[in-house]
């Protein structure tokens, strides 16, 4: 029992990796990127399963459409969450490509001087993140209004 505890790494694992509290804003973007990525994968799997019913004939397809229609507003809320996930994952993914493939927004290597502000997390990176949040929020709100308008609520 004691040996088992000793071998275990302290506060490690999936939940710890997704817990950004106390850390920098980039770590929050990381968590959101992971979560939206999982949402998109689940959506794509469900979407492929939905499309697969076309091959089973018109009756199966109509039944699938009826099932989705029976979800009512929950279908629209689900679509809205998927739209938000796609917007955020795409925009933040673009920022990460700039960082990782082109080495942009990182600043140049510098001689560290107290209080040691890392250039990779400094002004340019923050501007990119807040710009992404702003654009994604605006488009997501617009998507929500569009869905509500489609339902005839507004």
């Amino acid at each position: 029992m004691g040996e088992e505890k000793k071998e275990k790494r302290y506060k490690s694992g999936l939940l710890r990796s997704l817990w950004p509290y106390n850390f920098n804003v980039e770590r929050y973007t990381y968590t959101l990127h992971r979560i939206t990525g999982v949402i998109l994968i689940l959506y794509l799997m469900a979407h492929v399963f939905e499309i697969y019913h076309v091959a089973l004939g018109p009756v199966a397809w109509e039944q699938t459409m009826a099932l989705l229609g029976s979800l009512g507003i929950w279908e629209k809320i689900g679509l809205w969450i998927i739209a938000g996930s796609a917007l955020y994952h795409g925009a933040n993914g673009f920022r990460l490509i700039l960082n990782e493939v082109f080495g942009m927004l990182l600043g140049k290597p510098v001689l560290p001087e107290y209080p040691y502000t890392p250039t990779s997390l400094s002004r340019n990176q923050k501007i990119a993140i807040y710009l992404i949040v702003l654009v994604v929020e605006a488009l997501w709100i617009w998507a929500g209004i569009y869905l509500l308008w489609g339902l005839g609520i507004i």
């Binding site: 990796s17 950004p20 920098n24 990460l96 001689l111 560290p112 250039t119």
Partner: protein, 268 residues
């Protein structure tokens, strides 16, 4: 002031509270020393230089990995302090963690100068000059004191214990960026691996907590760029395993090695 410490004695874990007199100018390490001197001599923690140079006193202070000797009580702005061992490490006792994996990862990226002609390291044909501009491209990453704090902050290390981690990758880049080093091709299979640079998703937590301003996240992104450029230009595929780790099986009809002779030549 109330100090709450995560204890571990090899069998069980528990939180223990202490009441300590502390001034805002005291460091967390001062407080820990006071507890050990006056209240509880069984409390275990590492320390050495007490000035942010040795990297021994890394621990999690109020939820954020930091050096105890560089964190002043006044900076924390809290009524109590919560101290825990570094996240993502095996705990040996109380605030002392096992750094073996960490050191092995560091060693695995060959953090030393590599020359194509190794004899040059013993007898250099000429002085290897580095201009101040060239020095600036890697000196930041040379400031690493191997405290291991960056691995405690890294979300990828939390889910993948085999991930090389920001410290080792940062040190790999420190040597790759050095104009005197010629070991990029020797290191690339180690770095361009499923547990190498591509496991980093740039959460930046390593750079955020680094007590010496090393910015390992930046070094890792530069490494990714360099590796991509190398693969595109040289059209070389990454092997699944570094060549030196691939052990070739002996042929089936190979003679068996002779039994080991324990006799010491010339006697003891």
């Amino acid at each position: 002031m109330k100090v709450r410490i995560r204890r571990f004695d090899g069998q069980k874990e528990w939180w223990q509270d202490y009441e300590v007199d502390a001034k805002p100018s005291d460091t967390v390490l001062d407080v820990l020393n006071r507890i050990r001197e006056k209240q509880d001599h069984t409390l275990a923690f590492r320390q050495s230089c007490q000035m942010g140079s040795c990297g021994s006193c890394g621990m999690v202070i109020n939820g954020l990995p930091a050096l105890a000797c560089q964190t002043r009580i006044g900076e924390l702005k809290t009524e109590s302090i919560r101290l825990e061992p570094l996240y993502n490490y095996k705990v040996i006792k109380d605030l002392v963690v096992d750094l073996n994996d960490f050191v092995n990862k560091h060693r695995s990226v060959k953090p030393w100068m590599i020359r194509k002609n190794p004899e040059e390291l013993e007898e250099a044909p000429t002085e290897f000059k580095v201009t101040p501009e060239q020095n600036l491209t890697f000196v930041q990453f040379d400031y690493c004191i191997m405290c291991g704090i960056c691995l405690a902050a890294c979300p990828t290390v939390a889910i993948d214990p085999l991930f090389l981690g920001p410290q080792a990758l940062g040190q790999a880049y420190r040597y790759i960026a050095d104009p005197r080093d010629e070991g990029f091709e020797e290191r690339i299979d180690i770095l361009d691996d499923s547990h190498g640079v591509w496991r980093c998703h740039f959460a930046g937590a390593c750079s955020y907590v680094c007590p010496k301003g090393v910015d390992p996240a930046k070094a890792i992104q530069y490494l990714k760029k360099d590796i991509l450029k190398y693969r595109l230009l040289h059209k070389k595929r990454a092997s699944t395993k570094p060549a030196e780790l691939v052990q070739k099986a002996p042929p089936p009809n190979a003679p068996k090695p002779p039994p080991f002779d324990f006799k010491v030549e010339g006697g003891v």
